[in-house]
């Protein structure tokens, strides 16, 4: 298989090699233990391109990620980022409606897209010989999208259906939407990515066109191209189709006020919905600080969790279950957000379980981690788990592409491979303990909860108590 691909593409690219720009790439490992490397370029219009050459399968992937998520919206146009993601599949100038899907499908490709608070992403996989066709097709929609009726209005129906499916039909999500509007008040995180029902229904063509102009710009886009391609030749192809893409990102984010991170500390926001399981979340607000902190925060939270779980009586989750304090537990950092990157500890409880006891147990265990030494055993364990995760990523080209996106777009470090391992090996115990004290401080959190009907004010009537 490997031999086949290398022959195909060495020949294929000899035709366009001369046209390729002679740019020097920034080269990086992707994961430790893999020989695959990533090659980074920046086009003159600001488009960032990373090529991940991989000849194991005759498969290519194109993965676009833009800083054009729902935190770019304003009240009145909520849901626009997600709605726009839908519109990207409908029509380009001069092409019939639904053309993108038809061409992609005709090559046997598959693709999809997703929108979050902080990004929108479009990705497709297809047989590698179709790369030029796919780049042209992508360029058509990124540079010449046709936002017109009746497709605009018809797509509203699908988005409204999706909103019902994901939010309105789910009492937990419905209630979460209300709680979120309270704890994230005054910020672009106040609304859910899918937007309010009213805003989606009243979405205007003019607002959609403005969003496209403002945020679908080359300098706001990262394109990762994976497959059996030589980096320089892939660059030449991307330049051919995206080199003339115009546009500049001029909108800047407004940093959150310092009071956002402290205003709700110690508070509890609990309401009820027609559910049988109680769900609580402890949120430790944390600013995203600077880019250099991103990997460190992620590694420290991984190490913290390993230490929390390292116990004779079992993992933290297991102990909660055995003591009948909760039925489920999760801890993670929301490292993908822009202005805020909180740490979350979420709990599910059965009807007769008391959250106060679960919370008390959590706080006690955070304290215990703080008082434990970071042993060599724990360090080796975390490093081993990273090695396993790296080996899994190395198996698939598409996983390597996802790792590149994680490193570059979210962790802001193209050369992140191996940094985590290095950080654990050279861990400064004092710094780590100080990180726990700062980020998981027993006074620096607020609680949100959704409990069964009758146990609290219904979420539909829930208001902020100033």
């Amino acid at each position: 298989m490997l031999k086949k691909c290398s022959i195909v593409f060495a020949l294929l690219f000899s035709n366009i090699a001369n046209a390729a720009a002679q740019s020097n790439a920034d080269v990086a490992d992707i994961v430790m233990g893999s020989t695959n490397k990533a090659y980074k370029y920046t086009l003159s219009n600001g488009l960032k391109l990373i090529v991940v050459p991989d000849t194991r399968n005759p498969l290519a992937t194109l993965h676009f990620i833009l800083d054009a998520g729902s935190d770019r919206e304003t009240p009145g146009t909520t849901g626009l980022a997600h709605f726009f993601e839908h519109m990207m599949f409908r029509k380009s100038m001069g092409a019939p409606e639904g053309n993108y899907d038809r061409v992609l499908n005709s090559f046997g490709g598959t693709g999809n897209a997703g929108t979050s608070d902080s990004f929108v992403t479009f990705y497709s996989s297809f047989p590698a010989p179709a790369i030029e066709t796919m780049l042209k097709l992508e360029a058509d929609r990124f540079t010449n999208l046709d936002i017109t009726e009746p497709y605009f209005s018809t797509e509203k129906g699908a988005v409204i259906s999706e909103r019902k499916l994901r939010v309105e039909n789910d009492p937990v999500q419905r209630s979460h939407e209300i709680l979120r509007s309270i704890v994230q008040r005054g910020t672009p995180m106040e609304w859910m990515t899918i937007g309010s029902k009213a805003d989606v229904e009243n979405m205007s063509l003019a607002a959609a066109k403005q969003f496209y102009k403002d945020y679908y710009t080359p300098d706001n886009t990262l394109l990762v191209l994976g497959g059996p391609f030589k980096p320089q030749q892939a660059l030449a192809m991307v330049e051919k189709y995206f080199g003339t893409w115009q546009g500049k990102l001029t909108k800047k984010r407004t940093p959150y006020l310092a009071s956002y991170f402290t205003r709700d500390l110690g508070k509890s926001f609990v309401c009820s919905a027609p559910v049988l399981t109680k769900r609580y979340q402890i949120t430790y607000p944390a600013p995203s600080k600077n880019k250099d902190d991103a990997i460190e925060n992620l590694i420290y939270s991984t190490l913290f969790q390993a230490m929390l779980d390292d116990h004779l009586e079992g993992t933290f989750n297991r102990r909660l279950v055995k003591l009948q304090l909760a039925t489920e537990f999760n801890f993670y950092k929301m490292y993908w957000l822009n202005e805020t990157q909180p740490y979350l500890a979420s709990f599910a409880l059965s009807k007769n379980q008391d959250f106060e006891k679960a919370k008390e147990f959590w706080l006690k265990n955070v304290q215990e981690v703080l008082n434990k030494p970071v042993t060599t055993k724990i360090k080796n364990q975390v490093i081993k788990q990273m090695a396993v995760s790296n080996a899994e990523s190395a198996e698939l080209m598409t996983s390597l592409v996802n790792t590149v996106i994680d490193n570059t777009f979210f962790l802001h470090n193209f050369k992140a491979a191996g940094k985590g391992e290095e950080m654990i090996k050279r861990l400064d115990d004092k710094k780590f303990k100080s990180w726990i004290k700062t980020n998981l401080n027993e006074k620096n959190f607020y609680v949100t909860g959704i409990v069964p009907t009758g146990d609290a004010t219904p979420c539909t009537n829930f208001k902020l108590q100033e």
């Binding site: 598959t110 009492p171 049988l276 399981t277 080796n380 080996a391």
Partner: protein, 519 residues
């Protein structure tokens, strides 16, 4: 050699085409790329690599399959026990699920579950158990290649000395009951569709069928009946070399392989367990041509989740050509390629009407797996409560028009080429190839070493639209059992509009709270 030459020629033609395109690109650069017809890729020139798995028979009835690769960093091991849930009485089936879970949760050797968890974390080993589609327990492990001996040690202890701690069973019951409560929250699409699917099975197969009891089997009443004695009894039946299948794939040494072989040969050889797949294969008798319908009303849902199914009981087993035909028919009716509006179903339910965000339909040839005598075409979609009658009418009409009027040559060519091209876009690894071959063998099939090439050839032969339309006519005249299950909150007007249709037979209207209480 011939293959390579052919491949080279095809490349030259591809390059010539690319050059011609390049020469014209200046003229056409402003023009969008518009779909006209799919371009068939030259799959004949692709030298598909065989999946060269090996079978080592082990005296006493065990089979050891292997698929090595030195280019990966991990290995994967799967031990498939010979007994099956389908060989058990309905009363024993929940206990069999408990056995699967407690092989790890109950501890083994000198280790408690908590110690096992810790050991796995320290060594980066993934270890779990599950029941596969054939109702057999699978012990599954994967780790870095250097940790083979550690993994084998764990598997050995799990097989030879499970502890089945009494306290672990109590925690298992507690967690299983919590899981059931979580399911009954029915807050996500996944949970709602599990309940909808269960109701569809009841309509088609009757209240007592294995599938119809899939939710009841996990209810507190059944969970709380499980005893440690029963679990141990089931373990004794399953701990048998006779009929055992073991799969190893990835990066391991010959020494590793020998150790594994030795371990298998130490498992006692008992009489084989005789099991059938699914003994209950009778479809509910059809009284008329009406669609048997159940409405499950959940008052807080603003949108209904719907499944409409046509069960066919008289196809017999599909042959390879028929399988490929049905694959194409499914693709034309509802594409799996993530394409909105390019197939009949999403065009009608989403692109044209804006009713449904993610409608999907498919042909299920193995409703009673793997007995293919019963198959079904399943149409799943969402509908706003206030448009339910309209949504059901559109789905029915789209389906009946599809069968009665058939497809065009163009639709056939587009779907066939798209499906074939998609096969060329698969991302193969040694592990998914091993799983693919394992799936075929466990289903009792003789696997093809080049499965992608085989499917390509099967599809490539299907060029005659009249033959495909004959299959659609056959579906139309097969007198299927139609069923409809709706979970949502349609109002009286919608229900009246729905049920006044002459082909709808509303059998049950259930309130969701009452449904939950029934457990």
């Amino acid at each position: 050699m011939t293959m390579k030459l052919k491949f080279f020629i095809s490349l030259v033609s591809l390059l010539l085409a690319a050059k011609t395109n390049a020469q014209q690109s200046d003229l056409q650069s402003k023009r969008p790329l518009v779909f006209s017809k799919p371009v068939p890729l030259n799959w004949q020139s692709v030298p598909f690599q065989s999946i060269n798995y090996n079978l080592k028979s082990i005296d006493g009835g065990a089979s050891l399959y292997s698929l090595p690769s030195k280019s990966v960093l991990k290995f994967s091991l799967k031990v498939v026990l010979p007994d099956s849930i389908f060989s058990l009485s309905p009363q024993e089936r929940t206990s069999y699920g408990a056995l699967s879970d407690l092989l790890i949760l109950g501890g083994f050797g000198q280790l408690t579950f908590e110690q096992i968890q810790n050991f796995l974390s320290v060594n980066g080993i993934n270890l779990n158990t599950y029941i596969n589609q054939q109702g057999r327990i699978v012990l599954s492990a994967n780790a870095l290649s250097g940790d083979f001996d550690l993994v084998l040690g764990l598997i050995q202890q799990m097989l030879f000395s499970p502890k089945f701690d009494k306290s672990a069973l109590d925690i298992w019951k507690q967690e299983s009951n919590d899981d059931f409560t979580n399911l009954m929250d029915a807050n996500t699409l996944e949970k709602q569709m599990r309940i909808v699917d269960n109701q569809a099975n009841i309509l088609a197969l009757g209240e007592n069928h294995y599938f119809s009891n899939s939710i009841k089997r996990t209810s507190p009443a059944e969970i709380n009946k499980v005893t440690n004695e029963k679990i141990k009894q089931l373990y004794k039946r399953a701990f048998n070399r006779n009929g055992l299948s073991v799969w190893i794939a990835g990066n391991y040494s010959e020494k590793n392989f020998s150790s594994l072989q030795q371990l298998i040969s130490q498992i006692p050889e008992n009489l084989p367990q005789v099991y059938t797949w699914l003994p209950e294969r009778t479809l509910t008798k059809k009284k008329d041509n009406k669609i048997s319908t159940i409405i499950l009303k959940k008052s807080d849902m603003t949108q209904a989740n719907v499944t409409m199914r046509y069960y066919f009981s008289n196809f017999g087993q599909l042959n390879k050509i028929e399988e490929a035909q049905m694959m194409l028919i499914s693709e034309i009716f509802s594409s799996t390629g993530g394409v909105v509006g390019n197939d009949r179903f999403t065009k009608a339910m989403r692109a044209d009407s804006g009713i449904s965000y993610s409608p999907h339909a498919y042909f299920n040839a193995r409703v009673l797996f793997p007995n293919t005598n019963l198959s079904a075409f399943q149409l799943n979609f969402q509908s706003p409560n206030e448009r339910l009658a309209e949504a059901v009418a559109i789905a029915k009409k789209t389906w009946s028009t599809f069968l009665s009027k058939g497809i065009s040559q163009d639709e056939l060519d587009v779907a066939r080429t798209a499906l074939m091209n998609r096969l060329l876009a698969s991302e193969e690894t040694i592990f998914n190839q091993s799983d693919d071959i394992m799936g075929q063998i466990l289903r009792g099939k003789v696997p093809y070493n080049n499965p992608i090439e085989f499917t390509l050839v099967s599809l490539d032969q299907l060029r005659d639209v009249t033959k495909i339309n004959s299959v659609l006519k056959m579906l139309e005249s097969s007198n299927p059992l139609p069923t409809l299950v709706v979970m949502g909150n349609p109002d009286a007007k919608q229900l009246s509009l729905l049920t006044k249709e002459s082909d709808i037979n509303l059998l049950k209207e259930l309130d969701f709270n009452a449904y939950v209480k029934s457990f």
